[in-house]
């Protein structure tokens, strides 16, 4: 390899310089975000189709969701987006300690989000508000609803896929915590933190769409 002795160790050999590497990584993440948008886009289409077919059912079924927990989760996730952004700001300002703290808080908030989601899911499992043929809830609110299992099918697939993204994000944030602690990330090189940050904001943004579409119909 022919790069000069002054090139930093985080520069991969196939890039000319640090800036090219930084720009390429960020660009790659944005392209991935496009893929993610299309992934959820397919499900948003399914949602739109069935909501337009069964508007009353969607309204009635959404009353069975726990708006308070959904609201709380929205606040938790938006806060985690803020702490993620602060972590990047801190590392740019060479404040390793603050950056680490912010990453840890982001991770804990993500865990909190999944915890609240777990409470919601387990309640639905208990009463049988489940997708497809597993739907068994027969409470007084649903006697006049047609096909509520479709609502719950779409609800579980979309929030489940989103929850999977949160879990993957937690893994990535844990990796960032490790890298920052080992001084692999610093004010000269924080590309992984920035790209994971972009991903994390997308996860947040998707939830900001999911929340009103499922919990606040009407």
């Amino acid at each position: 390899m022919s790069h000069n002795s002054s090139s930093p160790d985080f520069l991969h050999h196939h890039f000319h310089d640090v800036d090219q590497q930084y720009q390429t990584s960020k660009f790659g993440m944005w392209a991935f975000i496009l893929t993610e948008v299309l992934t959820f886009g397919g499900l948003f289409v399914a949602y739109t189709v069935y909501r337009s077919w069964y508007p009353e059912m969607f309204y009635d079924a959404h009353l069975l969701l726990d708006v308070q927990k959904g609201m709380l989760n929205t606040i938790v996730l938006i806060s985690s987006s803020l702490t993620m952004a602060l972590a990047i700001w801190a590392i740019q300002k060479k404040n390793k300690k603050l950056s680490l703290w912010m990453l840890v808080i982001t991770w804990v908030l993500a865990l909190g989000f999944l915890g609240i989601k777990y409470l919601e899911y387990s309640h639905k499992f208990e009463v049988g508000q489940l997708p497809g043929i597993f739907y068994s809830y027969m409470g007084p609110e649903v006697v006049n609803i047609d096909n509520p299992h479709i609502f719950f099918g779409i609800y579980f697939i979309m929030t489940g896929l989103h929850g999977l993204h949160v879990a993957i994000g937690m893994g990535l944030i844990a990796w960032l915590i490790y890298l920052t602690k080992k001084d692999k990330l610093h004010s000269e090189y924080y590309t992984p933190m920035e790209t994971v940050g972009i991903f994390w904001h997308l996860v947040d943004l998707i939830w900001i769409y999911l929340f009103p579409l499922f919990y606040l119909i009407g």
Binding site: F27, G28, L34, E36, L38, T39, G42, L43, Y50, I133
Partner: protein, 540 residues
């Protein structure tokens, strides 16, 4: 060239692990190439098996169930395991960084990961084959695919997984084209193959996730009965078709755009003339990629759409013909007054022009609603599809393989045999598939193992020529493999066709492990045959 002429990416570093864990785009490309060719042969054998069964009316060799499995596996393997991954994965991987003067793709580790994701998905496909096949057709239409007891889940899971490999390759290529170009190589100086890969990659990263989600919904429908595609549970099976074709129509362009790119490279080089209408070809690639997203409904003219949607989809479908026509005319005008030499790649390229034009024009037939109602699900569709996919994509793939073989391996194949095979492919292909247009017009439905006697003459004819086609492709590939012997070695500095793109002018054949021995300097446009004199090193 320096004193290190013997070091190239094939012999340095050594050892099996240096291949399995390589981050070198050229080695990853070769791994894609060889796995792709293996699946091509499996898919091809299935096709020949089907033709054998169809040689005469009645169940002669296989049962109806086996036949159902054969055409499903043939389609799924050819499309999802060979064509979609192999051209971008093999030729794209090997050539793209070289063509833009980069040391590697933007994300080499992601590139290797994408190959292993592909291999992992391929395992599911192999499991499906061993475990008795799958009988739904490669489209996996509901409601049958949610009820069939064959291996729908392993196969769709395999396709789901391979989709991610496709997305990662596309993402890598887009970032490479945007950010890794050598200074001075502006967008309008990019080789057209790069434009084609760029358009392909855009479709890959935007359409494939929708297929992934469709496969997930199908699998969930089978396991959980979510009811989204099941009318008994308040769902709609036609929604599946919308989802499926929203991916799978653009996927047709994932398959054909790289082929256009290959032809755009080969024709100027072997005509020794500047490409005609560079910007037209570049932008027609992007417009095909874009229009491709708006025409999926033309697969569903008989599925119960509103008349209004039918008219709109039919109308937009015609628009695809415009950029495609622009390309065909540009290629023909490139050859006009050029010094056309009938080398093997050029013979394939000419065959492509002829066959793809037939395939494209019959697509206009099928885009017309009234005609499609008659032709839907007949052999006319089969013939059209194969004229586009085999006559187009696979012939372009063979053209590209023969064009860049000396670049990739530093070996030259026996050109006489190769050219004869190219002719055999062209003749065998027409003999196999032209009768199928007639069969379709006369009402022979697709996907049947048996047929009534009136069709037997054309079917027998088709089967006869399919053996010529199969044999020609087989010998062509054998001829390429045979060329890898030591005695066919080329001089590392050789540029057999006298091409001007950077992979030929700036590095040895086969290339250095880091692509270029020193940082390349961009000197001439890819098709500047009017300004630069470069002699082919190949002796006739």
């Amino acid at each position: 060239m320096s004193e290190n002429q013997n070091i190239n990416y094939l012999n340095h570093p050594k050892g099996i692990m240096s291949w399995l864990l390589t981050l070198d785009h050229k080695r990853i490309g070769l791994m894609y190439l060889f796995s792709g060719i293996i699946f091509f042969l499996i898919g091809g054998l299935l096709a020949l098996g089907m033709r054998l069964e169809l040689a005469a009316p009645g169940n002669d060799f296989v049962s109806n169930d086996t036949y159902n499995s054969m055409y499903t596996l043939h389609g799924a393997i050819m499309i999802f395991l060979f064509i979609i991954p192999a051209i971008p994965g093999a030729l794209g991987n090997i050539l793209l960084p070289l063509m833009v003067g980069a040391k590697d793709v933007a994300f080499p580790r992601l590139n290797l990961a994408s190959f292993y994701i592909y291999s992992f998905g391929a395992l599911f496909a192999i499991y499906t084959i061993v475990n008795g096949g799958v009988d739904t057709g490669w489209t996996f239409y509901t409601p049958y695919s949610t009820q069939s007891t064959s291996n729908v889940v392993p196969m769709t899971l395999g396709i789901f997984i391979i989709g991610f490999s496709s997305i990662l390759t596309g993402l890598n290529f887009i970032a490479t084209v945007h950010k890794m170009r050598v200074p001075g190589l502006t967008w309008y100086k990019l080789p057209l193959f790069v434009w084609a890969l760029y358009g392909t990659s855009l479709v890959q990263i935007t359409a494939t996730p929708v297929l992934a989600i469709t496969m997930v919904l199908l699998i969930l429908e089978r396991f959980l009965g979510i009811g989204i595609f099941d009318p008994a549970l308040g769902g709609d099976p036609v929604l599946y078709q919308h989802f499926f074709w929203f991916y799978s129509h653009p996927a047709v362009y994932i398959m054909i755009l790289p082929a256009f790119g290959i032809i755009s490279e080969i024709i100027p080089v072997h005509s020794r003339k500047k490409v005609w209408g560079y910007k037209f070809i570049a932008y027609s690639t992007l417009s095909i990629a874009f229009i491709g997203f708006l025409v999926w409904g033309h697969h569903m003219f008989t599925s119960g759409q509103s008349v209004f949607s039918q008219i709109v989809f039919s109308f937009i479908t015609y628009f695809v013909g415009i950029p495609t026509g622009v390309k065909i005319f540009s290629w023909i005008l490139t050859m006009y007054k050029g010094q056309v030499s009938f080398t093997t790649p050029m013979i394939y390229a000419l065959a492509f022009l002829f066959l793809f034009t037939i395939g494209g024009l019959t697509g206009i037939f099928l885009g017309a609603v009234a005609l499609d109602i008659h032709l839907h699900d007949t052999y006319f569709v089969v013939a059209h599809f194969h004229y586009v996919m085999q006559g187009g994509t696979i012939i372009a793939f063979l053209a590209g393989l023969h064009h860049w073989w000396p670049k990739s391996f530093g070996k030259m194949y026996n050109q006489k045999i190769a050219s004869l095979c190219a002719l055999g492919v062209f003749i065998g292909f027409n003999g196999t598939f032209f009768p199928q247009f007639l069969l379709g017009l006369r009402g022979m439905p697709r996907r049947y193992a048996t047929y009534s006697d009136q069709f037997s003459e054309l079917h027998t004819y088709s089967t006869f020529w399919s053996t010529i086609l199969g044999l020609s492709i087989f010998i062509a590939i054998l001829n390429l493999m045979w060329s890898l012997r030591k005695s066919n070695k080329l001089d590392p500095g050789s540029n057999p066709w006298g091409a001007l793109t950077m992979e030929w002018t700036h590095t040895s054949s086969p290339p250095h492990p880091h692509n270029f021995e020193s940082d390349p300097v961009f000197t001439n446009g890819p098709y500047d045959y009017d300004k630069v004199i470069v002699e082919p090193t190949l002796k006739k």
